[in-house]
């Protein structure tokens, strides 16, 4: 067997950071003031006799964390189980120094049904590498035990009373700002002692009286003290056993994911072609005509690297080539390999290489590299940055490489398994269908793509949802279970797409056909995106009709004109913002606000919310559309140079307001990979 096991990170103990039963920085139930390391994704679950909590927490910036939690409370609603979704937020006010503790402010369950609704300020100080002390003040649920009159009453008397919460299901999802930091306050605190890198003991004084659990689930609150013992594994995973208020035992398990550290940091694909010494035209038995053939040695050498040569023009000392990168997730790596192949295949007197990158048939950027820079920087200590600094990047609205005959038509097909998850719906935390998908595409000419995918579900429970839609809006998304129930062999999409370049920095897309599971029609998009800038602007207009539930060729009566104007901004540091303003599928007008953090390796975590002219009451449960999304690149998981990724969007509840068409190949994500900000992010791969 040739499996190679990379050694784990040497400082495995660095992965230890304290997590509470809420899956957030904390002791047992109480929060702490210290954040987790930047970028950490923590998955945790907690089990007690009558309660389960599953939490995903993301340290969004060095100071901010956000959490999504799905809880199951047995018998909470008059004997029925309660499935509760909640969001937390925390902000580090002050970093820990030698003499000062770390200080954080946080909100628990600020937009759910408020079962865990509370606010806190916590201070944490470490002493040596073993002892950590935490003290804090809480409000709401965190002041239900040992509470006293709110000191914030000094500012305004209104702080002393916490307004009665409207807990009706339709009222969930709204920010209970009037409640925050109101009503009684209470102190909490605790200690954490790390015996060794494996074993940690925690004890806390809790200001949570477990009132609702006592009332509705028969919980017995005997003491305010909790204690836990945690065992930490080498990879950072932890298992804890804890005693809760003298009456129950709980188990917590957690796994941290560090997006910045994939298992194989540099990838495991084969070495790039060796940069050979320059050769004359005669030595290469090269001529300008044969290089234009589809089976030229240049074409073959590029193909060997997963690159398809589509065009080439040689003028004087400059070669301009147009190629498709079908292999590398990092376009910089494709450029590096293409450049080395050109250096090896073209005669010595061709000294400048202009590489035109492509996506869906259109050229997206042109990178100019010099042969002499390749030669001098191949093993240079600072070769990565220097080669980036010496490269030129520009738009390639019109390709300047003459096409190679016989490249089109192109035909591709693929049969793969698929998994279609629907996570954390109000009745069941995990629904998913599993089956087989066949997809094919035909490109008769550059930019024109016919594609189709059919799916055959094999097993799953998407069709078992028994919640009929109670939406007062047109059922543009709440019928999704019907699509699972009433279909068998289904057409996921069947489209004709045309991609084109209307001008400098401009990209166009026209799509017609069965666009997604629930809609078919026509879709047009225009994007302005300069190669070197952080800002992009787009506009999209669609006319769509709702498809039949069987996902075959028929349509239902509902049709709509929907579309958005969009602004995209790359803030740097991996933070991407997007604003979409327009008309949604139910005919409502409004805007979607999104922020994503994309690590340079492509690992991406984001959140969004949509506000439209649909009232919170008409929207129904959740009040407005919101969710979190993530995607993990294949190469992050496997180390292999393969494009694509796995991801999903998690919404606390899917409703009809603020719902957007899910058309494939929106231009921003199609073209950005070969633009300068993305190239710079992954330029380390140029020499890989």
């Amino acid at each position: 067997m040739g499996i190679f096991c990379a050694t784990g990170p040497a400082g495995a103990t660095d992965l230890r950071f304290s997590a509470s039963s809420y899956g957030t920085p904390g002791l047992i139930d109480m929060p702490t003031g210290s954040p987790w390391p930047d970028g950490t994704l923590g998955l945790s679950s907690v089990l007690t006799k009558d309660m389960q909590k599953y939490t995903l927490t993301f340290q969004i910036t060095p100071r901010i964390f956000g959490s999504f939690r799905y809880s199951i409370l047995n018998g909470y609603d008059a004997g029925e189980n309660r499935y509760d979704r909640s969001f937390d937020f925390g902000y580090l006010l002050m970093e820990e120094t030698q003499y000062r503790p770390a200080l954080s402010i946080g909100l628990r369950d600020f937009g759910g049904t408020g079962i865990y609704g509370s606010e806190y300020i916590a201070a944490t100080k470490t002493f040596g590498d073993k002892l950590t002390l935490t003290g804090g003040i809480g409000w709401g649920r965190l002041a239900s035990y040992g509470g006293f009159t709110n000191p914030l009453g000094i500012i305004d008397d209104s702080f002393e009373t916490r307004p009665i919460q409207d807990v009706s299901i339709n009222n969930t999802g709204r920010l209970d700002i009037k409640q925050w930091f109101h009503g009684d306050a209470a102190f909490f605190g605790g200690v954490e002692y790390r015996f060794n890198p494996r074993l940690t003991l925690k004890a806390e004084y809790s200001s949570d009286a477990y009132e609702r659990e006592t009332l509705k689930m028969g919980f017995d609150h005997k003491t305010p003290f909790n204690a836990s013992l945690t065992y930490g594994f080498k990879n950072g995973a932890e298992v804890s056993v804890y005693a809760l208020h003298g009456s129950e035992i709980g188990i917590r398990g957690s796994i941290p994911i560090t997006p910045q550290k994939p298992k194989f940091p540099s990838g495991i694909e084969e070495a790039p072609p060796t940069l050979m010494q320059r050769q004359t035209q005669a030595a290469l038995s090269w001529d300008a005509n044969s290089v234009r053939q589809k089976d030229s040695s240049l074409s073959m050498a590029l193909k060997d690297q997963g690159l398809t040569l589509e065009g080439i023009t040689i003028e004087g000392d400059t070669a301009t080539v147009r190629f498709v990168n079908g292999r590398y997730p990092a376009e910089a790596q494709a450029l590096g390999r293409a450049a080395r192949v050109l250096a090896n295949q073209l005669p010595a007197d061709i000294t400048t290489f202009r590489l035109e990158a492509m996506a869906n048939g259109v050229t997206t950027s042109r990178t100019t590299l010099r042969r002499s820079d390749l030669e001098s920087l191949e093993y240079d200590l600072d070769g990565s940055w220097r080669s980036f600094a010496r490269a030129d990047f520009e738009d390639a609205a019109h390709s300047e490489a003459a096409p190679i005959a016989g490249i089109y038509p192109k035909f591709n097909w693929r049969i793969t398994p698929y998994l279609d998850p629907s996570l954390f719906d109000p009745d069941n935390p995990v629904r998913a269908d599993f089956g087989v998908q066949a997809a094919a595409s035909l490109e008769p000419a550059r930019g024109l793509v016919f594609s189709a995918a059919v799916r055959q579900p094999v097993a799953g429970n998407l069709a078992t949802s028994t919640r009929p839609s109670n939406s007062v809006l047109p059922h543009v998304r709440t019928d999704s279970a019907e699509y699972a129930k009433q279909s068998d062999l289904e057409i996921k999409y069947l489209t004709a797409e045309y991609f084109f370049r209307p001008g400098k920095d401009l990209y166009g897309r026209a799509t017609v056909g069965y666009l997604e599971t629930m809609y078919g029609g026509v879709s047009g998009e225009l994007l302005w995106k300069p190669v070197n800038g952080p800002l992009a602007l787009g506009a999209e207009l669609n006319y769509v009709k709702k498809r039949d539930f069987d996902q075959m060729f028929g349509f239902q009566d509902y049709d709509i004109v929907t579309g958005h104007a969009s602004a995209y901004y790359d803030f740097g540091g991996g933070y991407l913002g997007q604003l979409d303003v327009g008309r949604y599928l139910a005919g409502d007008y409004g805007a979607t606000f999104s922020v994503d953090r994309e690590f340079d390796n492509g690992f991406r975590v984001g959140a969004f919310f949509t506000l439209t002219d649909v009232s919170f009451d008409d929207f129904g449960e959740g009040s407005f559309d919101k969710g979190i999304r993530f995607s993990v690149p294949v190469d992050w998981l496997t180390g292999a140079a393969t494009q694509g990724g796995y991801g999903t969007t998690i919404r606390p509840v899917v409703r009809d307001g603020g719902a957007r068409l899910d058309v494939r190949n929106r231009l921003y994500d199609v073209v950005r990979h070969s633009h300068t900000p993305e190239l710079e992010d992954r330029w380390g791969k140029f020499w890989r």
Binding site: F4, A6, A10, K263, R327, S376, T416, L637, G639
Partner: protein, 216 residues
Amino acid sequence: MTVLRPLGFMFALIAGLSGCSSDAEKSNLLKKLVSGQGEVVPDPTFLAYEQAGAPTYLVSLEAKKQAYTIFVRQTTNAKGEETWISLDKLSLGMKNGMIIATRGMGGDQLAGDPSQTLAALKAGRNEVTERFVTLLNGESQAETLAFRCAVERQRQADVDLGPYTADTDLFYETCRNGQIRFRNLFWVERGSRNLVQSRQWISETVGTLALRAVPR
């Protein structure tokens, strides 16, 4: 024979990559998984250089038992930097027996500057040197580390190279910075001052490679 090149196909199956496709490369993932991962077709370029009698190294990975491969020298550039390629499509950048780059090992060194250590070895002197290493990190960025190293002669050592036994001086190079510490070993042939055998640290992910020149 076991190969050195890391394979990550276990994840590929979980990730649902496997399947049939018009792209032969993607279909091959499944085939490799089924047929055993150690089967590597030797690189034809490697074979051509090997048969032409190019200089050869036997290289093993310390972290894994029985993980070894053979490298041949493919080219030397104007700066005297050599590129060596293996039969399983890895490559090494070398200069006078010192590794200055790796490609394909999972945690690659993009570049390295061990010139001060090399000078001390060539001169046969004990010396404190600076060594620089540029790694490709998990965020696809180049990251340069600086180390302070102590180069110290240990003792005379005979190295059996097959056709003959080399009379060498064994040197330790002990390097550290704030976070990382490693030790390289060099067997420097007396007279020629060539590095006939060595152990060289690559990165925390890869660990250490052991190299032995194969006389031709």
